[in-house]
Every structure is written in structure tokens, then in C-alpha cells.
């Protein structure tokens, strides 16, 4: 979405100087009024439909009142599910796969609200001498998705988030690779305790960490027969601990009431139908298609589709070279591993489908070995160079010239007389000699050809003897 939820400011606030991506409306200046961004409603309806929710035809906003410096109006325009309020979507579910079994996670509601600004601290939140506010983010459309307590482990939470991200990315609702584009408040409640909400979790990895920490903390309290307080805690990523923000007694009464500046409006059936019918392919359907169309195993299809960009990348490759399984193998193993280890997204790397395909073709045509390809790939990812160029520069092309290999064999035989004698007696010892040639060429010599030529040479020697 290009603009904020209630004004015309760009929603692309990242990297801008603090408090420059603002206007009177998103700064909540006196006298300003919100105007709903229609595209946001459209996207929210689409997301609610993708999450199997009941879509509510009546769109109405409520004010959530509380004082906080990141809220320029000291209230947030949001949606509400009580006092006559209705979120855009209710009663949906998402299906996730846990240990090869399918599991439904219920969605309580999906609603739209405006993002507050952003507070920055010097060091940890509880020790900062001051707080700075940046309103660049203020008023960005947020889609809040609330699940019911159906998750049983930190890992399940992470799987769900990945799935949600993939669904939303497939819808084109947002770009999940952007910092802060997807945020999560996680609630933990274990038997004998009470519900604790954790805020300020920045990534999927952190969700798992924060939840694991919190479960241990709560178990520990209970084992010492101490009470788990119903409270909101802050995840400190650096120290990897949760810190209490406020207890239930300190929870605000948000004094929700209908936003008088935004009249109720009704979505008609045709609008909803149009939105739903224009919905792009969703991950589950895509997985099925990958299985059928490309003959991929379910596991491959799932791994690829878990990240829309990876799936797109894969399909681009297949378009250029119709070898889906080979491409899938490379993407799933080497490409993903490299990206993961270097904390990169596929689009942040310089790898292009064209180059990856080029590389696989080179293997298939015997120009390089798979081993060499594994060495070439990281450089392709980092520099964006053509694999041919890399191979040429580094002189990695396979040596298939008989003359060249014969010359090498000659040297190897001279240097390893003992091994030659062994090989004359025992066929198996030939491998050592092949290995020596490969070593001299750093793996570039054609292994089969080398093997045959050595055999030939040995035969010659045998005859000579």
C-alpha cells in the first residue's frame, strides 16, 4: 500500500529523517480529520478472506484512548469487537503443519488500525535517560490478526508466523522482508499461571526465543510456588530477557467509543465478491500446483512456498530451464543455506534466476562438476556475476583435453612410483592416482576421462613389463 491509513503520506517511511514523513493529519494536529484509505479496506477484506474469516459488511472504527508519547492524538483509531463495534473479519482459521500433521489455528479477529509513532531509547528501555519520538511511522495501516489460544509451543508460534507471512505476501498485502513490517505480541499462559503478554518482538527467531524464555521464567516461578502475575512484558533482544512493563492493575481502561469523524460505511456484496475473486493464488494452492505441475515432492513444495520470493524465484528458474527437481534441489539446499547463514533475503542477494540456471546447465553439460558449482554459487550470490565468468576467471572449467590430462598423468606417475607399482598389482589402488590428478587440477579434470586414461597408461606399463 502506497499511503498511510488516514492521510496521503507515503507508507514508505524507512530510512527517512525522523519526523519528515508526516502531515497535519498523521501528526494529529488540532482540527485535522482522518479519511479512510480505501485500498487498506480492500486489503484487509482480502486478508480476512484468505484467513477464512467471516467478513463483516459494516466498517466502523473506534477510538482507543490512552496517553502515550508515540500516539500524537493520545488515542488510536482502531476497530473493536464490543460495544457495537465490529472488526473487518471474525472467526477464521489458518492451517499449519506440525510434525507432518495438519493443525488448525483459530483466528479470533482481523482488524485495521493506525500505527503509532516510534519511540527510541538510549540503551535498554529501563535505563534510557531520555525518549525520542519519530512520527514517520505514525498512521501507517496496521492489520491486526488475533489468534485464539491454540498454539502449544514456541515452535508452533514460529510456524504459524511463517505461514501467515507467506499468505500475506502472496496476497501482496505487505512486504514481509521490511523491518517492522510484521510485528507480533505473544501471549503465554501455562497451567497454574496467568496470561502474560510480550511486546517488542522483532522477528520469527525472536518470537521463539522470547516465548521459550518466558515459559522457563513462568515455570521457575511456579516451581518456587510463586505467583505468575497477569502483566505485559517487554522483550529485550540484546539481553534476551523479558522485563515487566505493567501489571494488570496498571492496565489502562481504553474507553473505546465509536470514532465520530468516520461515518460507518457498508461494504456491498459485489465489493467483497470482487475483492475475493481478484485474490491471487494462496500458498496452499501453490504447494498443490508445484506438486502437480513440476512433480515436486510435498516437502520441496512446502519449503519453496514458505517464502513467496523463493517460490517466485524458483518459478522464474523453471521458466528458463525445465528441470524443476534439479532447480529445487539447488534452491532448497545451497541457496537457502547460504541466505540463512548470512541473514539475507533472496532479493537482497545478487543471485538471478538466469545465472542459477546457467550454472545448473553447465553441470548438466559436463562443463563443471557439482563440487565446483558449490564453490561458484556463493560468489554468484555475493557478486551477481555470471557463473561462466567466475569459472573462467578462476580457471575452474573442466579439463577434458586428453593431451593435457595425459601430461598430468605422466607427472603424477613420476612423482608416485610406489603407487603406480601398487596399482599394477591391485586395481583398487588406481583411485589414489586419479585423486592425485584431481588434486593437481583442483577438481577440474574430468574424473571419468582421467580414470580411463590412467587405466590405459597402466595397461601400457603392464604390457611393457
Amino acid at each position: 500500500m502506497k499511503t498511510k491509513l488516514f492521510c496521503g503520506c507515503p507508507s514508505d517511511y524507512r530510512g527517512k529523517k525522523p519526523n519528515t514523513n508526516v502531515c497535519p493529519v498523521c501528526l494529529g494536529l488540532p482540527g485535522t480529520l482522518p479519511v479512510v484509505n480505501k485500498k487498506a479496506v480492500e486489503y484487509a477484506v482480502m486478508a480476512a478472506a484468505a484467513l477464512n474469516c467471516k467478513i463483516n459488511h459494516k466498517i466502523l472504527f473506534f477510538r482507543k484512548n490512552y496517553f502515550y508519547p508515540d500516539l500524537p492524538k493520545n488515542f488510536q483509531i482502531s476497530q473493536y469487537d464490543r460495544a457495537g463495534g465490529l472488526p473487518i473479519g471474525t472467526d477464521g482459521y489458518v492451517e499449519i503443519k506440525v510434525k507432518n500433521a495438519k493443525k488448525k489455528v483459530r483466528i479470533g479477529r482481523v482488524h485495521l488500525e493506525e500505527d503509532p509513532g516510534r519511540l527510541t531509547y538510549l540503551g535498554p528501555i529501563d535505563r534510557s535517560p531520555y525518549t525520542l519520538v519519530d512520527y514517520n511511522r505514525s498512521g501507517i495501516a496496521l492489520l491486526e490478526i488475533v489468534t485464539l489460544p491454540d498454539l502449544n509451543s514456541p515452535k508452533e508460534a514460529r510456524i504459524l508466523l511463517r505461514k501467515l507471512r507467506s499468505i500475506l505476501e502472496h496476497l501482496g498485502v505487505f512486504d514481509g522482508s521490511l523491518e517492522g513490517a510484521m510485528r507480533c505480541d505473544a501471549n503465554v499462559s501455562i497451567e497454574g499461571g496467568s496470561r502474560v503478554e510480550i511486546k517488542n518482538i522483532s522477528s520469527f527467531k525472536e518470537v521463539e526465543r522470547a516465548l521459550t524464555y518466558e515459559i522457563i521464567r513462568q515455570r521457575d516461578l511456579l516451581s518456587k510456588e510463586r505467583r505468575v502475575l497477569r502483566e505485559t512484558r517487554h522483550w529485550d533482544e540484546r539481553r534476551r530477557v523479558t522485563i515487566s512493563l505493567r501489571t494488570k492493575e496498571e492496565e489502562q481502561d481504553y474507553r473505546y467509543f465509536p470514532e465520530p469523524d468516520l461515518p460507518v460505511f457498508l461494504l456491498d456484496d459485489t465489493f467483497i465478491k470482487n475483492v475475493v475473486s481478484s485474490m491471487p493464488e494462496l500458498p496452499d494452492a501453490r504447494i498443490e500446483r508445484f506438486k502437480k505441475m513440476y512433480g515436486l515432492p510435498e516437502y520441496d513444495a512446502e519449503v519453496l512456498v514458505a517464502d513467496k520470493r523463493i517460490a517466485d524465484f524458483f518459478e522464474e528458474c523453471v521458466k528458463l530451464y525445465n528441470q524443476p527437481k534439479k532447480i529445487s534441489n539447488w534452491v532448497m539446499s545451497d541457496v537457502l543455506r547460504y541466505l540463512y547463514e548470512n541473514n539475507l533475503e533472496i532479493h537482497e542477494s545478487k543471485l538471478s534466476p538466469k545465472h542459477l540456471v546457467e550454472m545448473i546447465k553447465m553441470i548438466d553439460e559436463g562443463e563443471i562438476s557439482g563440487k565446483i558449482a558449490k564453490k561458484v554459487l556463493p560468489e554468484m550470490i555475493v557478486t551477481g556475476k555470471d557463473p561462466r565468468e567466475i569459472v573462467k576467471e578462476k580457471n575452474l572449467l573442466r579439463i577434458s583435453s586428453i593431451q593435457e590430462i595425459k601430461a598430468l598423468i605422466k607427472t603424477v606417475f613420476e612423482e608416485n612410483r610406489k603407487a603406480v607399482e601398487d596399482a599394477l598389482k591391485d586395481e583398487k589402488a588406481i583411485h589414489f592416482l586419479v585423486g592425485q590428478v584431481m588434486r593437481k587440477t583442483r577438481g577440474r579434470a574430468d574424473p571419468e576421462l582421467t580414470h580411463n586414461l590412467i587405466k590405459e597408461e597402466l595397461d601400457k606399463l603392464k604390457k611393457a613389463n
Binding site: 497535519p24 501528526l27 494529529g28 494536529l29 488540532p30 482540527g31 485535522t32 480529520l33 482522518p34 479519511v35 479512510v36 477510538r63 484512548n65 496517553f67 508519547p69 500524537p72 492524538k73 493520545n74 488515542f75 460495544a83 457495537g84 525518549t131 519520538v133 481502561d253 474507553r255 473505546y256 467509543f257 465520530p260 469523524d261 468516520l262 461515518p263
Partner: protein
């Protein structure tokens, strides 16, 4: 005193210069402002500069605009770019908006000259202009009395000739009350007909900006300029702009007037009752028909109004926290909540604090259903009562205020008594209906009495026609206050 209509025509004919008009207005200001205190900010230099520019374009034959050269006063809760807009509150005493309200853009497009920003009850909360941080405005008809409120500065300025016309805002009577007390014409338009973009909110679901003038024609003219759809206000209705002056003809034959008995309840002074009835009979003489009627749900109007207005206000005024603009304090070594509380305690006056606290209460969980939700239900009932009445009648007639203007300080210590003054004006706000107050006579001691006319939604044309006919056949608008 020239009317806006006369000014525009004389400037067009070259008979008068805008500079002359504006200078004579400031002449008047310099004579009466000390006693009246109509303005929070006087824009003499800016207005004269603009007058010269307008004269320059007039000399080139370019006289465009329905308010060309007309001195306009603007209530100080309407944002004016670069000109402080205070809501007569300490908390905004130094606040300069970075943008113009839609109505200001429309005024400027039509060649109006803004004379100054007028005094008001703090955040439009009051009926007497006494709660202003900048001191009370006085009634031009009797300096010991209040001009009404909350648009008291606008009304007094127009009545005393410190401006030709003015903008006010009306949440529960804030245009009509001072119009009545100062013997001028004031319209609270249909909810949604004038953009609220740039109006600093008190209670969003109730209020409208509206015109205030010395006669019906000017009121209709100013309304024609400010009304119309604005995409920046989602509650603004998509209607074609109209020239309301074309509806002004002396014609009330067959117009059915309803007189609801609830507007003459306890607390209505006899003199008001008699004067308003006299006006109704006058309209009858002119060809209208009337009958009495009843809108039983109005019994709860005042309570519903205050609950809704205070609830909304408690949220609207939350943004004034001294962190970004407006009044601030030294940040001592405390947490920000303590700081914000201090700023708000010292920045808001007692009436504003009272309404914020009450509104916070009525919205809190456990009380929401009992107060806010119930008030919304009453509002629906009131709307239905009006709809029913308008099946029988074209317009409803009533007193604007239950009493003539009261003395300064007389009621300020008793908030409930002040709230009671709104009893006849809040119904139109709750139902979103257009309502006009016009001068309809004076008490024996010379205090003005106003007649209120209420019409179905978007029937301002009808209000103007009835009001115009009444005005043309009575002499009240020709009366001028003594202060002049």
C-alpha cells in the same frame, strides 16, 4: 454600517475601495474593542495588506469573489495558517497552525478579508464567553452582560460593527445563543454541510461551523461560500454548492410552522415566551400557518447532549499534552505521565477540566452502557421525534434562549445553571438539523430576544426564506447597540 452585500457591490462599482472598508472597520475596532474584547488576535497589518492587494486587482478590473472586500471575523477555534489559533485556552495560547481550515480557504477564494480571531469560551465550552483564558467578551447591548457563547466574540464583533460578518461554530448552540444575545442572525447548518476540516474539535458528532451576520441576506451569502463537500472531512455530505441568496423572497404563504411545547418549559422567562409567540403570530399574519406540537423525547436532550459532548471532548482534548505544541512546562525529573498531568492541570481552565473529567467517566468501562450508549439511544429517539414533527410541519419555531442575556459573573459559579441555558439549542445538534436564530424583539430594558427556526436536513433554503420574510416585515435588524 454597510452589509456584505453592499460592500461587494460598491467595491465592484468602484465606489469604494477595500482599503477604505477595512480601515473603517479597524476604526470601529479601535473605538469599541477596549470595552468589548471581541478579539483574541487582531490582524490589522495582514488585513490592510490584503486590502491593498484586492484593490490592486480591482484596479485591473479583476473583482472576483462573492465576498470581495468583506471584513470577516473568524472564531478562534478555526485554524488559520501562521496565525495563532488559541481556542481561547492557555494550552494553545501560542499555537500557530501550519494549515488553513477548509472554510478559510473558501473565504479567501471569494475575496474576504480576515480582520481577526474572535474570543470564545475555552474550547467552545460555555454559553457566555466567560471561560476564555483571554477574559470575557461583553455584550454590545449592555456592557454588564454576557454576549452569549461560545461564539461570543464573533457575535459581539458583528453586532458592534467590528466585522461585517463572522464565522462561529455551534456544538450545542454556540452560534445561535450569542446571535440571540447580540441580536444578530446566526445559522447552525445541517450536520455535514460545512467542512469541519480545520475546526478544532470539541464534540465532533455535534458541531458545525456556521455564518453569523447582521441580516439574513449576509448570513445566506456567507453560508453559500462555506458550504459544500470537502473530501478531507469524511462526515461532509456530497452536495452540489448552491447560492442560497436566490431563495430569499418574502413568501411564507402556506408554510406550516410547528411550535413544540417542550421549548417553553420551566426556566423560560415570560418575556421570551411572549416575544417568541409574537413573532409566530407575525409570521401567521404574513401567511404562514402554525400549530403547537410536542416532541416528548426532548425531555432528555440536555442530559444526552452533555454526556455525548463531554465524552467526545475527553478524547478530542487528550492530544494537548505539552509534548509537541502549545503550552508546556519545564520537564523536571519525573515520568512523562506526571509531566502531562501538570501541563493539563495548568493549561486548561476549570470548565474544560470539568468536562474532560466527566467525559472520561462516562466512557469508562462499567459506565459506558449506562451513560454514553444510553445517550446515543436518546439521540436516536430525538431524531425520530423530529422526523415525525416534520411530517406535519415545514419548520419548527422556538425561543433560541430561555432568557435574555444575563449579567457577567451571574452564573459562572454555577455550572448546572449555565448548562441549562443550552436547553433549547441542543436538540438541533443532537438531530443534526439546520437551525437559525434571528432577532425577534427586545425586552423592556432593551435586551435582545432571538427566534429559533429549525428545518429538516439540508433545508437551509427554507430557514432563510422564512427568516428573510420575517426580517423584511419587522424592524429589529435595523436596531443598533448603544456601544456604537
Amino acid at each position: 454600517m454597510l452589509s456584505a452585500r453592499e460592500i461587494v457591490s460598491r467595491v465592484k462599482s468602484g465606489e469604494l475601495k477595500v482599503t477604505e472598508i477595512v480601515e473603517s472597520t479597524f476604526d470601529r475596532v479601535s473605538k469599541t474593542e477596549d470595552r468589548l474584547n471581541c478579539y483574541v488576535t487582531i490582524l490589522q497589518e495582514e488585513a490592510l495588506k490584503r486590502a491593498r492587494l484586492l484593490d490592486e486587482s480591482a484596479s485591473k478590473g479583476k473583482v472576483h469573489g462573492r465576498l470581495f472586500g468583506v471584513p470577516v471575523a473568524v472564531k478562534d477555534n478555526i485554524c488559520t495558517k501562521g496565525v495563532r489559533t488559541t481556542c481561547s485556552s492557555r494550552i494553545l495560547a501560542n499555537f500557530k497552525p501550519v494549515y488553513n481550515a477548509t472554510v478559510i480557504e473558501r473565504l479567501e477564494r471569494e475575496g474576504a478579508v480576515i480582520i481577526g480571531k474572535t474570543n470564545m469560551d475555552e474550547f467552545a465550552m460555555g454559553v457566555s464567553t466567560e471561560t476564555s483564558y483571554f477574559g470575557p467578551t461583553r455584550n454590545p447591548w449592555d456592557l454588564t452582560r454576557v454576549p452569549g457563547g461560545s461564539s461570543g466574540g464573533s457575535a459581539a464583533a458583528v453586532a458592534a460593527g467590528e466585522a461585517t460578518v463572522a464565522l462561529g461554530s455551534d456544538t450545542g448552540g454556540s452560534i445561535r445563543c450569542p446571535a440571540s444575545f447580540c441580536s444578530i442572525v446566526g445559522l447552525k447548518p445541517t450536520y455535514g454541510s460545512v467542512s469541519r476540516y480545520g475546526l478544532i474539535a470539541y464534540a465532533n458528532s455535534l458541531e458545525q461551523i456556521g455564518p453569523m451576520a447582521r441580516d439574513v441576506y449576509d448570513c445566506a451569502l456567507l453560508f453559500s461560500v462555506i458550504a459544500g463537500h470537502d473530501p478531507r472531512d469524511s462526515t461532509s455530505v456530497n452536495l452540489k454548492p448552491k447560492d442560497y441568496t436566490v431563495f430569499l423572497r418574502e413568501e411564507v404563504k402556506g408554510v406550516k410552522i410547528g411550535v413544540p411545547k417542550e421549548f417553553f418549559g420551566e426556566g423560560t422567562q415570560k418575556v421570551v415566551e411572549e416575544t417568541v409567540w409574537k413573532a409566530v403570530h407575525k409570521l401567521e399574519d404574513l401567511g404562514a400557518e402554525y400549530d403547537t406540537c410536542s416532541l416528548p423525547s426532548l425531555e432528555y436532550a440536555l442530559a444526552a447532549y452533555y454526556i455525548i459532548a463531554m465524552s467526545e471532548a475527553s478524547s478530542n482534548l487528550a492530544r494537548y499534552d505539552g509534548l509537541r505544541y502549545g503550552y508546556s512546562e519545564e520537564f523536571t525529573d519525573t515520568d512523562w505521565f506526571t509531566y502531562i498531568a501538570k501541563v493539563r492541570r495548568n493549561g486548561f481552565g476549570p470548565e474544560v477540566r470539568r468536562r474532560i473529567i466527566l467525559g472520561t467517566f462516562t466512557l469508562s468501562s462499567g459506565y459506558y452502557n449506562r451513560y454514553y450508549l444510553k445517550a446515543l439511544k436518546v439521540r436516536t429517539l430525538i431524531r425520530m421525534d423530529f422526523e415525525k414533527a416534520f411530517k406535519r410541519f415545514d419548520v419548527l419555531a422556538a425561543p433560541t434562549m430561555p432568557t435574555p442575556p444575563f449579567k457577567l459573573g451571574e452564573k459562572i459559579e454555577n455550572p448546572l445553571e449555565l448548562y441549562m441555558c443550552d436547553i433549547d439549542t441542543v436538540p438541533a445538534n443532537l438531530a443534526g438539523l439546520p437551525s437559525i436564530s434571528i432577532p425577534c424583539g427586545f425586552t423592556t430594558s432593551g435586551l435582545p430576544v432571538g427566534l429559533q427556526l429549525i428545518a429538516p436536513p439540508f433545508r437551509e433554503d427554507l430557514l432563510f426564506r422564512v427568516a428573510y420574510t420575517f426580517e423584511k416585515n419587522t424592524g429589529y435588524v435595523k436596531e443598533e447597540p448603544e456601544v456604537i
